[in-house]
């Protein structure tokens, strides 16, 4: 961390017109104010988490359908490939065109579009890894296909889901900022672009630093502990 700060300071001194120093960036944070930062962070978190939850719900429905019906499996496999092939930029522009710049729906749906394929791929991988062993046990116990899914397959997917969620939530935060940059929802992405538009160079770096800190905090305070907890579910 100290090495990064020293490097940043040296680069800032070499290019003073382009890059603010760490101290100037911290001063800019102070100028922006804790209240505005907190509000923007909460908006970005809300957009990211809601979008992730929408992606998660869609992925769980898709994998449940795929488990019970092979035609559904082929359909969702193709859909996954299709969604992955569409750029996030396209999703952002299309959803802003549909819902307008002020609506929070656009960043939420962009995040959902970005996280859905990650989660679905993780769950499909889990399905391939778990299927045979747990399906055999379910059959030996006389479980119905529905009981097999609810009691054996979905719980068995939890460690895989948590691992996929760690990537998905990291991406959700980054993608949410991109989608916010196109609109006027008031998240970190919006203020970052606003700072750029008004020539507030230190502000751009301050908002970027806030985003980095937010991602580190979410990773260490939430995602890593949850992943450690989920390890006991591993076969």
């Amino acid at each position: 961390m100290a090495g990064l700060l020293v490097s940043w300071e040296l680069v800032a001194r070499a290019y003073p017109e382009l890059i603010p120093t760490p101290l100037e960036t911290l001063r800019a944070m102070g100028a922006i104010g804790a209240q505005r930062i907190l509000h923007a962070v909460l908006v970005t978190l809300e957009n990211s988490i809601t979008g992730y939850l929408v992606g998660l719900a869609l992925a769980l429905v898709s994998v449940s359908a795929a488990y019970t019906n092979r035609h559904a499996a082929a359909f969702f496999d193709a859909l996954n490939t299709l969604i992955q092939s569409v750029s996030i930029l396209v999703w952002a522009i299309v959803f802003i065109m549909i819902f307008g710049v002020v609506s929070r729906k656009a960043p939420i749906l962009v995040v959902a579009a970005a996280t859905y394929p990650i989660l679905l791929s993780g769950l499909f991988g889990a399905l391939r890894a778990l299927d045979k062993r747990f399906a055999l046990l379910a059959r030996l116990l006389g479980a119905s296909r529905y009981e097999e899914l609810i009691h054996f397959i979905l719980p068995g997917m939890i460690p895989y889901l948590v691992a996929a969620s760690r990537s998905a939530i990291g991406i959700a935060l980054r993608i949410s900022v991109v989608a916010e940059a196109f609109g006027a929802s008031g998240g970190v992405g919006y203020w970052l672009v606003y700072s750029y538009d008004v020539g507030f160079r230190e502000g751009v770096f301050a908002w970027a630093l806030i985003l980095v800190l937010l991602m580190i905090i979410v990773d260490y305070a939430l995602l890593r502990p949850v992943e450690r907890w989920s390890m006991k579910w591993r076969v």
């Binding site: 062993r133 055999l136 046990l137 030996l140 116990l141 009691h151 719980p155 939890i158 006991k232 591993r234």
Partner: protein, 230 residues
């Protein structure tokens, strides 16, 4: 004595690979039948057919009563305790929870795993996990228990403990078919031992081990070995 399992001229193949070629077996109520044979000969296939989880090409298989199959590989849900695994089995079979809990305590006592009931599978030894798997199947109250290679991968103490548990179940009158390639371990729990020949497998002879002295048993098993049955 009344037969609870009857297998006649059973044939099973995978594609062009004939695995079972005219297998004949009878298992009486309350009997423990051991089945021995070389690895990969089709012992597990035979058990799965008797359990009704695998089909066959021709022949006749008749089973009187409910069957519980304990698979070769221990499969317990790692996110549930041993008690939780057994309770799930009970729930699927429609057994009321109070009845299931009492039955689990009774079975855990017979199997000697009462102290491990609230532990997760990753916290117990392979032998205890194997017994928990047997408990999971016994919660379903089967009339016949099929055990596929129950001693494989266990240390000497765990094998002895498992043999003792199987003998307790036998004394309670449970009919069991135990498949193993570990003939001496099988001989100490079985009433009769069926020898399967190399593929395509068929039963070459059935040895009644009840009342045999250790010397006679060793001689009979040796006869099986020299006849290339095991």
């Amino acid at each position: 004595m009344e037969s609870v399992i009857t297998v006649r001229n059973l044939r099973k193949s995978y594609g062009e690979n004939l695995v079972l070629d005219g297998v004949n077996l009878e298992v009486a109520r309350g009997e423990v039948l051991g089945i021995v044979g070389p690895n990969g000969v089709g012992k597990s296939t035979l058990l799965r057919i008797i359990a009704g989880v695998e089909g066959y090409d021709s022949g006749y298989v008749h089973v009187r009563g409910r069957v519980g199959l304990v698979p070769q590989e221990t499969i317990l849900l790692p996110w549930k305790t041993l008690r939780g695994n057994a309770l799930l089995a009970a729930r699927i079979s429609g057994l009321p929870r109070e009845v299931a809990e009492a039955r689990i305590e009774e079975l855990a006592d017979i199997l000697g795993i009462t102290g491990y009931l609230d532990m997760h599978p990753s916290q117990v030894s392979g032998g205890t996990a194997r017994k928990a798997q047997i408990m999971m199947m016994l919660v379903l109250e089967p009339d016949i228990l099929l055990l596929d290679e129950p001693f494989t991968g266990l240390d000497v103490n765990s094998i002895a403990a498992l043999q003792e548990s199987i003998l307790k179940l036998k004394r309670k009158g449970l009919t069991m078919v135990v498949v193993s390639h570990m003939i001496s371990e099988l001989a100490s729990i079985a009433d009769r031992i069926a020898f399967l020949t190399h593929r395509p497998a068929r039963v070459s002879r059935i040895l009644d081990v009840r009342g045999l002295s250790r010397g006679e048993l060793a001689a009979e098993l040796f006869r099986g070995l020299v006849n290339d049955e095991v």
